[in-house]
């Protein structure tokens, strides 16, 4: 009797359970958030063409829109050698990596490493670090070549040198036994134009895509620091360290947000540094040409005015880079994407790739108070020896990198025609990018390797929906 009772009870319970199951929605819908397709809040664009990274955010004033247009023009058009009749755009070089911002950030998108020795303007450059720091705490530049190797120069001036990249394939296996291969780059400098280098550390960098920069500026410092755990007090194996860097405009230390090691505090510093470092365009912030005492021809070259980009035009470019909209999600509610999102949370990627912030106030009011989904904490993390460049940048050590935002990552193939990822573009696709994670990312990477092939595909599909 008792048995029968138990059985009938079980029967009833299972009936209830079934009834429940029928009425319950797909458990994956638990991962669907209201409005998550608006990755940049109101500053989101749903264009999915190759212009996806180049759209202005909505809600700009007439003056801000005009600034966007002028900035767009200065970002995309080539600078020319001085003296020239195009007085607003002369002063290229003497040394440079690219003739325009878009030379590296093509279509406001992402660069890649050269495919062959001597390929120019692909959006790749080499930083040169000596031992110690400058008075401001910045990395010590090479005494002959400066802090960055420029592989191009204006007519009749010898370029500084050329980066040679060789790759070695490293084969490993997923938990299910299927093999994968990663390419480990090694770097050397050839065709040095001005004698031996004094720098001992080479730090390769590719140009990231530009979307959403203003929103990252608008995240409050408090919200960023809330995720910092430099000494891993909570023992989860993830530190999160804030970089504090020299602000060349304000002339004081400030929280670092931009660049591969969070070495720049805001887009004004970032853009002005790119003008001088990558294109040889002087500004009020960096008034001196990139010529060392050894580089005499460079010192004697004509300039395109002092400065070569006047402050108001520099601010137009800054405004442009602040107001590029973030691509919205594609298929954010598709079951494989939601399953990928579930796995992204489950294996701990979100410990660094923070899904969501609400922006604070920004000078451009359209950027203020937006719920955004950048998938970054803007903090530094040790990513292991395999990814390390050994270069110190303020508080960032040779193993540390700033978590890059993941928004827009799935459109890079559309915009830029490649799927090369990480700081030096070594990863040939998103799977390889994940597999390069080490250090604080090691345990998530290890869990990724144990996923089934279908689960791995779902995770990648989620990333491609960002």
């Amino acid at each position: 009797m008792k048995n029968i009772q138990t059985i009938s009870l079980l029967f009833i319970v299972s009936l209830l359970f079934f009834a429940c199951e029928k009425e319950t929605v797909d458990p994956l819908l638990h991962y669907l958030e209201d409005g998550e397709e608006f990755s940049g809040g109101n500053a989101t664009t749903f264009l999915t063409s190759r212009d996806a990274f180049g759209q202005a955010i909505s809600g700009l004033t007439d003056a801000q829109e005009n600034s966007f247009f002028v900035g767009n023009s200065l970002f995309n058009q080539n600078w020319v050698t001085a003296p020239a009749s195009t007085t607003a755009r002369d002063g290229l070089g003497p040394f440079f990596n690219a003739r325009s911002c878009s030379g590296c950030h093509f279509k406001d998108g992402r660069g890649r490493a050269p495919d062959y020795f001597g390929e120019k303007s692909t959006g790749f450059l080499m930083r040169l670090h000596g031992l110690g720091t400058t008075a401001n705490g910045a990395p010590m530049p090479d005494l002959s070549y400066g802090g960055q190797l420029q592989d191009q120069a204006i007519l009749d001036i010898t370029p500084e040198g050329e980066v040679e990249i060789t790759y070695q394939e490293i084969v490993d296996a997923f938990g299910d036994g299927s093999n994968y291969s990663l390419q480990q780059p090694s770097y050397s400098i050839r065709q040095l134009g001005y004698g031996p280098m004094t720098a001992s550390i080479l730090s390769p960098r590719v140009a990231p895509h530009m979307a959403g920069g203003g929103l990252l500026e608008a995240i409050s410092e408090t919200d960023i620091l809330a995720n910092a755990d430099e000494f891993d007090a909570d023992g989860d194996g993830i530190s999160g360290k804030a970089n504090y860097v020299w602000d060349d405009f304000k002339q004081e230390m400030a929280l670092g947000r931009f660049g591969w090691k969070a070495g720049k505090s805001d887009l004004l510093n970032q853009d002005a540094a790119a003008f001088i470092g990558d294109m040889g365009i002087t500004s009020d912030i960096f008034p001196n040409q990139n010529c060392s005492t050894n580089e005499i021809e460079c010192q004697n070259a004509a300039d395109g005015g002092q400065p070569e980009i006047i402050f108001d035009r520099l601010m137009d470019v800054v405004s442009y880079t602040q107001t590029l909209a973030v691509p919205g999600r594609r298929d954010h509610d598709a079951p494989p994407v939601l399953n990928g999102k579930r796995l992204f949370f489950k294996i701990g990627c979100v410990k660094c790739h923070t899904p969501k912030f609400t922006t604070g106030s920004h000078a451009i009011s359209a950027l203020s108070d937006q719920t955004i989904r950048p998938y970054t904490d803007l903090l530094l993390h040790d990513m292991g020896d395999a990814l390390a460049d050994g270069a110190t940048e303020f508080r960032a050590n040779g193993n540390e990198w700033r978590t890059p935002p993941l928004w827009g990552i799935g459109l890079i193939e559309t915009v830029n025609g490649h799927t090369r990822f990480l700081h030096d573009g070594r990863a040939r696709n998103l799977t390889e990018a994940i597999l390069w994670h080490g250090g604080e990312g090691e345990s998530s990477k290890a869990m990724f390797k144990t996923l089934t092939e279908e689960e791995r595909q779902d995770l990648i599909q989620f990333l491609n929906s960002l």
């Binding site: 264009l47 759209q55 002028v70 058009q77 009749s85």
Partner: protein
Amino acid sequence: MIVAYTNKDQEDEHSCFSDNTHRDIILNAQGINNIYNGRYSNITGTGLADLVALADESTNTAIVNLLTQIKTDNALIHVPFDHAISNDSYRPQVLTAANNLKELGDKLVEAASALGFTVSAELPD
């Protein structure tokens, strides 16, 4: 236009060598006007206006009025354009004309979406 206006640099003008920029601005706008209203010289036919009017009457009216305004305002741009962008007393007319055209671009995007198309107002590089 806004770039030439902001940079005050003749090299950023539409036709910096021929000094024909004022005509370029007027005739480019006329070209849009022709296609939109279905009118070329004394020839008339179906234009985009007829189509947009069916989908969104108020957007169509706004565009038609704006095209008329553009014709009036473009004619006020000082000649030669070099002076129009460099002389402070002539600059406001250039800014007005440029803002009109920007608004036209926005309105045409709205008209397209009323017709079920997505177009980008992004400038070509």
